[in-house]
């Protein structure tokens, strides 16, 4: 199971949960599971979340594979000027 952490600013949408272990093989699967578990998180999963898998940051990368032993972190997406 991959170790999933949610960055602090996402707490209000998960009822305070920040750490879980999930059996998911891709970012898409991760988002699906999270969306079912935390409906308030859905709008952010759609547009506002970046993912770091084992330290590398991915934005808008639904097909990025997640391994069974991966550390995955969800945090706010980054934009710029």
């Amino acid at each position: 199971m991959a170790r999933i952490s949610l960055s602090n600013e996402l707490k209000p949408y998960t009822g305070g949960a920040t750490r879980l272990a999930l059996d998911v093989a891709s970012v898409r699967q991760l988002f699906e599971v999270l969306g079912e578990q935390y409906p308030d998180l859905c709008p952010y999963l759609e547009t506002g979340i970046a993912v770091a898998i084992d330290g590398e940051i991915y934005q808008d990368a639904l097909l990025q594979p997640i391994r069974g032993d991966s550390d995955v972190l969800l945090f706010t997406k980054i934009a710029g000027g």
């Binding site: 602090n8 770091a52 590398e56 934005q59 972190l73 934009a79 710029g80 000027g81």
Partner: protein, 766 residues
């Protein structure tokens, strides 16, 4: 799948040189075409009627007299656009809400700021269009307004949006608020951290909104044809995003809208958003004539995005040997009329230059009766870094530690855990600090009333969706079609240089052009310093695909195995130790035969680029303060910045210098003035004071190159980070010159003189 391309160190022939940009000659001869330079036969001129009120209910709009004026061909108001539900945009990837987008381009129930569009007309001449605006009768019910962020956050403030409840708060609030969102970023145990501190310094800082100040006002030309196909020429940082947004708000098929990005006369984040474009298309649809719209400078100031004004609080604790143990900040950012300021970007930038175990950053996104803010170069970061780097300076001074040394003791490096998410990869922050410390500027003598200040910056940089296509022409020249707009920094030159390097041919054999929305797949806006990073990655991959095809073609022509064909210096040649020798073929020779050997050769790539390397910089500035007038003169300025790899060093320096001078303007004299009626008092370049040439010295640049491991040439973004430190650096320098500590921007002569007066009379705030 997302894409990263690993950095390989190799000898370079083109990358790192300083050739002339492909758009250069056109720009020095007046031939370059910007949006306002386009015209079509039979075109009409579009003009916008704007609200004179900061906040009012829009009771009625009567356009009949305007429509009756000879020469007026169309008028549009809120009735011509569909309402949009609250929906955060998936198209374009900006987190924008279409309910707000449609209301910002044309007011519906209410006007939210002085300058908010209320109606638009298209007429056969500009003077007729202007006359028509005066004939539109609008009935307003003026409402109380709120301009200041702190005022807007109060419980009894006039509420802009009755349906806006603060997001990010539990339990969910039951009363509407101007606070659109609250966000908290944290790690460690803040209380425990501050308990370890020997010294804690805490202050509040305030900044005014400032405008990007691009010299080219927004302009566009739209042509709607009877079959529903639309062409749009516009100055934009992202034509695909403009297409997506226009199609959505006009409820038309994306495929029917072709957007051609013109030369862009400066953007800096301010040309990420649609303004007149959907109005021009709607007017063209109604009149069946092309419609051209060009904003005046006054319209630019009244109605397009500045960056946020803000109120921020910073508290930092450190041990007596200068190790930061806890840091806390509150960021209250004006979003303007609709939610969505850069506070979400500013929060993670607040302390990320430092390795701190205990951090808490709280951000508020606050709506006020001003134009909706837009991105401005490292959006939000300069505002909060002003506070943080000022407090850091005070801590260092209190402990009698050299300010660069203090930063080195706490500097983030590879592996540092950030409080907003990931650990940092390889970065060059420490290198910028050590090079700044060793720079002759740092030791140069200073005269009376002169002082030196230091500050540093961090910016993420981004990758995102990017596509490009590369055609090998019949004579072996290469045309590179890119989807990332060259927002003036010279990314076209950089891309061509990387492609030339890949092929092993001369720079001038590669012609880079920007493709319109019909030429390529979706590209994100050029923002987040992604142009040369992501666009470069796509261009390199396109080149590599084409080179693969060229080798394949030679293998077929020479009847050898593919692996026996080596591509080097623009020539397909036998691989050393290969099975079979053959006569080498140049790119030109292969290209000439291409038609008879299977058709032309091209390469393309559509990627979602990942692995952008964060950028760091350290600035040193010397100032002189006129104690009698409060005037601050910038005497000397040095930037040390890690850019990963400077593909075109002169254009990289240009980014650093331009950003720093924007930061100098922000620091000293740029601000918005509002009257008690909520009307902007200085919507022009006379009283919105951007620096002129005689206000600034030469800006010295030191380029540091710590390669980004996720880009084939090691590129990080370089366009934004150097706008971050100037406000703090200048404030720190003023403190060292005359002993006053300024915590409000701008540090204009009246503010400086007032602080000097207070200091002299002993009334100084700690």
């Amino acid at each position: 799948m997302s894409t990263m391309v690993k950095y390989e160190e190799k000898p370079l022939k083109v990358v790192g040189t300083r050739p002339i940009r492909p758009d250069g000659v056109d720009k020095v001869t007046g031939r370059a075409r910007f949006a306002a330079d386009y015209s079509l036969p039979g075109q009409l001129i579009g003009k916008v009627l704007r609200s004179p009120h900061a906040h009012a209910r829009l009771k009625s709009i009567d356009t009949s007299a305007a429509l009756a004026l000879p020469g007026v061909k169309a008028v549009v108001t809120r009735d011509d656009f569909a309402d949009m539900a609250s929906e955060f945009a998936a198209s374009g990837e900006l987190t924008i809400n279409f309910r707000d987008v449609t209301r910002n381009m044309m007011a519906r129930e209410k006007v939210f700021y002085d300058g908010h569009p209320v109606a638009a007309v298209a007429a056969t001449s500009e003077s007729i269009a202007r006359a028509a605006l005066k004939l539109i009768k609008v009935e307003y019910e003026v409402l109380p307004h709120v301009i200041d962020v702190v005022e807007a956050m109060k419980a009894d403030a006039p509420i802009l949006h009755e349906q806006q409840f603060t997001d990010g708060v539990t339990p969910k609030p039951d009363k509407p608020s101007n606070i659109a969102k609250r966000m908290v970023f944290a790690r460690g145990d803040l209380e425990a951290g501050f308990k370890q501190a020997d010294l804690i310094i805490e202050h509040e800082f305030n900044t005014k909104p400032v405008h990007q100040g691009y010299i080219e006002p927004q302009a566009c030309l739209a042509s709607y044809s009877e079959d529903g196909q639309v062409e749009l020429w516009t100055g934009t940082q992202g034509h695909f995003v403009f297409r997506a947004q226009c199609a959505k708000v006009l409820q038309m098929d994306t495929g029917k809208l072709r957007v051609t990005p013109t030369e862009l006369g400066g953007g800096f984040g301010g040309k990420n958003n649609i303004y007149g474009e959907p109005l021009a298309i709607a007017l063209s649809r109604k009149s069946q004539r092309p419609v051209k719209m060009v904003m005046t400078r006054e319209e630019v100031f009244r109605a397009t995005g500045p960056t946020s004004g803000a109120n921020v609080k910073v508290k930092i604790g450190c041990t007596k040997d200068g190790r930061i143990v806890a840091a806390e900040a509150e960021l209250n950012f004006q979003a303007g009329a609709f939610a969505g300021s850069s506070v979400g970007m500013a929060c993670p930038c607040t302390f990320t230059r430092y390795d701190i175990d205990n951090v808490r950053v709280v951000g508020h996104d606050v709506t006020v009766n001003r134009p909706k803010v837009a991105a401005y170069r490292a959006p939000g970061a300069p505002i909060i870094v002003f506070g943080v780097e000022s407090v850091i300076d005070e801590l260092a001074k209190a402990l009698a530690i050299d300010p660069i040394e203090f930063r080195l003791k706490n500097a983030a490096k590879e592996g540092t855990q950030t409080y907003y998410g990931p650990k940092l990869g390889p970065i060059g922050y420490i290198e910028t600090l050590t090079k700044a410390k060793a720079h002759p500027h740092y030791r140069a003598p200073l005269g009376p009333n002169q002082g030196r200040g230091v500050a540093t910056g961090f910016w993420f940089n981004i990758g995102m969706e990017t596509s490009s296509r590369l055609n090998v022409n019949e004579d072996g020249t290469v045309t590179l079609i890119m989807g990332t707009v060259d927002v003036a920094g010279g990314s076209r030159a950089s891309m061509a240089m990387m492609v030339a390097e890949e092929f092993g041919i001369a720079y001038d054999r590669v012609r880079p052009v920007i493709g319109d929305t019909n030429a390529l797949g979706f590209n994100f806006i050029t923002a987040g310093s992604r142009g040369t990073f992501a666009g470069g990655m796509a261009a390199v991959l396109s080149a590599r695909e084409a080179i693969g095809k060229l080798r394949q073609r030679v293998a077929q022509i020479r009847e050898v195995a593919l692996e026996d064909v080596l591509w080097k210096d623009g020539v397909a040649q036998p691989a050393p130790g290969g099975a079979k020798q053959f006569a080498p073929m140049t790119l030109a020779e292969i290209a000439r035969m291409a038609g008879k050997t299977g058709g032309s050769i091209s390469g393309q790539s559509e990627i979602n680029a990942q692995g952008a390397g964060p950028g760091f910089c350290t600035h040193i500035v010397d100032v002189e303060v006129d104690k009698q007038t409060g005037a601050v003169k910038i005497l000397r300025y040095t930037i040390v910045q890690d850019v990963g790899k400077a593909i075109h060093p002169a254009y990289v320096e240009g980014q650093m210098q331009g950003a720093a001078v924007q930061g100098i303007g922000w620091s000293l004299n740029e601000e918005y003035f509002y009257g008690a009626d909520g009307v902007l008092q200085n919507p022009g370049f006379l009283d919105y004071r951007v620096p002129v040439a005689s206000d600034v010295p030469f800006i010295d640049t030191v380029i540091v190159e710590v390669p980004n491991p996720n880009h084939p040439y090691g590129v990080r973004g370089c366009g934004e980070v150097s706008i971050i430190p100037p406000i703090a650096a200048i404030s720190n320098a003023i403190n060292n010159a005359v002993g006053i500590r300024l915590r409000n921007q701008p540090m204009s002569p009246p503010a400086v003189l007032k602080a000097l007066g207070e200091a002299a009379s002993g009334k100084t705030k700690s």
